[in-house]
Structure formats: structure tokens, C-alpha cells
């Protein structure tokens, strides 16, 4: 999977914009404060994804892992995350703050826009010699932008719809995770 649209689909499955929207719809605050929170979260997500993509090679060397083996680990995380999203629709959140900037850091920034599945997928893709960091980031930024748009648009009354969409994307994440594991195992 090296074509741009394939990377975008894989990253969309990993980030799950619908799950972010479903979680965002539960957050307290005005429309303006949501905008502020989402902007901060997007910056955190984009920054950490860029760091993951451009630091992938060093990270893998530091961890003493080949990108093939890391892909298996990323696939496992994707599959577990996807299973949870398929079941619940959005991640369980606790201790949600009221201030917008705080919501932008937690829960919107971490663990939603910058999620283990998203970051590990970014490393796995960027570490692949046929993909690389630029292509990975090029596919990730529009996905994060879509997640930001969904988070801004999400309203509590539409939460059921967002959850249903998140569950579908979660199922896709499971499939992508399994594909990652198989591809990692079936690599020289």
C-alpha cells in the first residue's frame, strides 16, 4: 500500500475522525471554545505525526527494530484500537476539563488527534522505504484536517450517527491492522 489514496485510507482508519467527532460532541463549552480546543488539538496531532514521520528512521534504529517488525506491532495496536472503536464508537474519557485550551491538550490532543494507532501507523508508513516521511505526512495532514472539521461540526444530538460512523471506521482499522500484521510477517 504505497499509493496516496491508500495511505490516506490507512491513516483515516488509524486516526478515526468519526470517533474524534463523537468524543468532541460530548465536551462541554461553546462553539467558540470548541474551535479553540480543536485548533490546539490539531496542532498537537499534526506536530506529533510530523515528528513520528520524520523521526521514524531514528526511532526504529533506537528501538533496534526493522520496519517490517514494527509494522506487526503497529498492526496489533490498530487491530486492538479498531476493535474497541467497533464496540464502543469512541474511547472512554475521564476527568474532562472545562477550559478550551485544556480540552485541546486532553482529550482532543492526546489521545485523540495524536493517538497510539495514528502515531504508530505514521512511523510504520514513514519507515517503509517505498513511502517515506513526506508522503506519510502528506496523507496524514488532510486526515487530521477532516478530523478537525468533524470535531467542529459534531453536536450532541448527532452523536449516534458519529458513533455509528466511528464503529464502521473501527472495523476498517481492524482490517488494516490485520493486513499490517500479515504484511509484516510476510516480509523478508
Amino acid at each position: 500500500m504505497t499509493a496516496y489514496w491508500e495511505l490516506a485510507v490507512v491513516l483515516a482508519a488509524a486516526v478515526n475522525p468519526a470517533a474524534i467527532a463523537a468524543a468532541a460532541s460530548e465536551l462541554p463549552g461553546s462553539r467558540a471554545s470548541r474551535g479553540q480546543a480543536v485548533a490546539i488539538a490539531w496542532a498537537i496531532g499534526a506536530g506529533m505525526t510530523a515528528a513520528a514521520a520524520y523521526g521514524a528512521e531514528r526511532l526504529l534504529a533506537g528501538l533496534e527494530l526493522s520496519h517490517e517488525t514494527f509494522r506487526i506491532a503497529a498492526g496489533a495496536v490498530l487491530a486492538v484500537t479498531g476493535t474497541r472503536e467497533t464496540w464502543r464508537g469512541s474511547p472512554p474519557l475521564s476527568s474532562v476539563p472545562n477550559r478550551a485550551w485544556e480540552q485541546g491538550v486532553y482529550p482532543l490532543g492526546l489521545p485523540l488527534f495524536a493517538s497510539p494507532a495514528g502515531l504508530m501507523t505514521a512511523v510504520a508508513l514513514a519507515g517503509h522505504p517505498e513511502v517515506g516521511p513526506a508522503k506519510t505526512l502528506g496523507a496524514a495532514l488532510p486526515v487530521l484536517a477532516a478530523a478537525a472539521a468533524a470535531a467542529l461540526a459534531a453536536r450532541e444530538r448527532h452523536q449516534g450517527l458519529w458513533r455509528a460512523a466511528a464503529q464502521s471506521i473501527g472495523a476498517l482499522a481492524v482490517a488494516v491492522g490485520v493486513a499490517f500484521v500479515v504484511a509484516g510477517i510476510r516480509s523478508v
Partner: protein, 391 residues
Amino acid sequence: MLRGLAVTLAVWALGFAVLRLTIAGPELCEPPSPTAVEASISAAATWLSAHQSADGRFLYEYDRDARAASPEYNEVRHAGVTTSLYQLAAAGKPDYLDTAERGLDRMLGRLLRRDGWAAIREDDGTAKLGSTALLVAALVFRREATGDLRYDPLLAELGRFLLAMQEPNGRMLAYWSPALGGPIPDLTSRYYTGEAFWALTLLARTFPHEREWLDGARRVARYLAEERDEAEELEFAPWPDQWAAYGFAELARLAPLSESEVAYLRSLAERFGMLVRFDAQRGEDDVSTLFRGEGARGAGLGTWVEGLGALWRAASVETRLADLRPAISERALCGAGLLVARQTAAEEAEGDARAVGAWFRSGVTRMDDQQHALSALLAVLEILTEAEPQE
């Protein structure tokens, strides 16, 4: 916010630890230097040579903790060990040729002849396909190492036995029975088919005007690539068959490979690569052993690296495999690094001469641990030699 963030980061750290202990453990493999590989090869060959009996038998199995040798023996493994020593001689290192010759004499003393063919006889009068196939390989490498052609007629006899054990679809029967006066029907071996295939390709290379060897090899090649794993119910296909890889490395130089054969070789490379990667994650500490198991025995890791070495050679001539060559090389060097690191050095042997140069697992080494590791390191030496800039 801080509480939520702290919980999130704690969950991430826990997840990372679980991954690190299981599937994302560090792959500890440093490519060895040519000097280290050569030293390791010499130590392995010395182990085989130093503990050889006057009758040509090698030390079969040794328990380091009990300081006891096993009374068992296996003629197929004997043939394999002898082959590896002739491989070494053919690679320009004749120091252990005498050891190989003594091993050969033992096999020549056990020949069974019928209907124009010859095979190695077991104590019960049966003949195993595997030992005869590996005798062919030994004699071909001996011929290349010494230039002595005296065994050419015997090679033809042995080759005819291999063909006598072949079915029309390329399947190789494993045992010849004196009671039946022919092969035992439907009995195959996951090892012997590849060994016979390799032997036939070596005969085809050595005697290019005798078409029967290449024709026989092509039949086994097709069977291996298209039928064997399913027909013989080998789980988790492809069976990681380094003998088949050896055979295809030869065949690729003799004739064009079919699409299914190329696909089979790609899948073999993937399997060997995965096995080496996983084994590289197995450290020697208790935590690593608990979560990822003990490292493979020398024979296991050796066969994977042998397979990668053979596929590297195949990829050198088969353009449809050329893209795999860097990855195969990287993985073979990784496996070789592990082999060199896991070999028992003199200072680790606590004065036990039978431990020096051997690969132990759970305190036990068997002669094929040294055999496969030696052949694997020879293959890697070829890769390293190509990688080294020539002066």
C-alpha cells in the same frame, strides 16, 4: 486535565512495555565482519574434525552439562556434515578435506547397488533418499574441490537412484525397501524431497549433456513450488526448506524458472526472513526467554541463513527476484551475526574441548548444528565478499 493526561500517558507506557516484551522486542543482530565469519567457520569445522572417530563417524550429540555424548547416530546427518566439509573445501578452504574424506569412506562402505543404481544402505537394509542425495552433493563439491573425477560413474549411479524414487508428478518417495524391492509407496519426507532436488540440480550442473538430471530436477521444482506443501500437509506454508532454496539457486542458472517457482522463492524468502527477524528478538536473558522463548538451535538458525544465502544467489541471476536481494542480504547478515555471537568460544567452554566451536541449545549440541551453521556462514561469506570493495 493533568489527571486525564497522566492516565493517558500511563496507559501508553504500559502498552509500549507490553509490545516491547512481546512482538516489538529489539532485534539484536550486528552484521559480522568477514574475519569473524571465517573464524567461526574454522571453529565449527574444527569441532567436526576434532571429534571424528577412526571409522569416519562424527560426534553425533553432546550434552555439555552432563559431559556425555549420545550413542545415537544418523546416516542422513552424517552425509549432511560431510557435504558441508566438502562445501568448505570447494570454497577454497581445503584444511578439513581429510575429515571429509574419512566421512566419505564411511558412506562408500555402505553402498547398496541394484538395477544400475546405488544408494546408501541403512542398518536395516533400507535406503533413505536423503542420505543418497547428500552423498551426491558431497561428491559434486569434492569434484570441484579436488578436480578428481574418479567418482563420476558413482554419481551417475546415485543419480539413477534419485530418479528411481521419483513419481511422474515430481514427488519424491523417501525410502527404498528391500522387502518390496522398490520405494515404499506414499511415504515422503519434508527434508528428503528438497535434498534430492538439490542433488539433481548439482548433477545437471556437473553433467550438462545428460538431460535426465535437469528433467528430473524440473519435475521436483514444479512439485515443490505448486503441490508439495498442500499434498504433504505441511502447515504454515511454505515449509522453510533450505534444500529447495539450494536447488533453485542452481536451477536458476540452468533454465528459466516458471512464474509459480518465482512466487514460491519469494514466499520462501519471506519465511526465512521472518524466522531470522523473530529469532533476532530472542535475547539470552530470563525476561526475553520468558516472553519470546529460547533462541533457535544452531541447525535451525543455520538452515534459515543457508536458505537466505541460496536465495541471494538465485536473485543474482533471476531478475524477477532482484528486488529482494538487498533485503535477503540484510537478513542473512543478521542471522550470521547471531550465529557468530552464539557459538561457544574457548573462554566460555570451561575447559571442555567438546564445547568449543559448537552451538548449544538447552546444553545440547548435535553435529548438524555445526553443519548448518558452517554452510550458512560460507554462504554469508560470499555475500560479504561481494559487499567488500575489491582492492
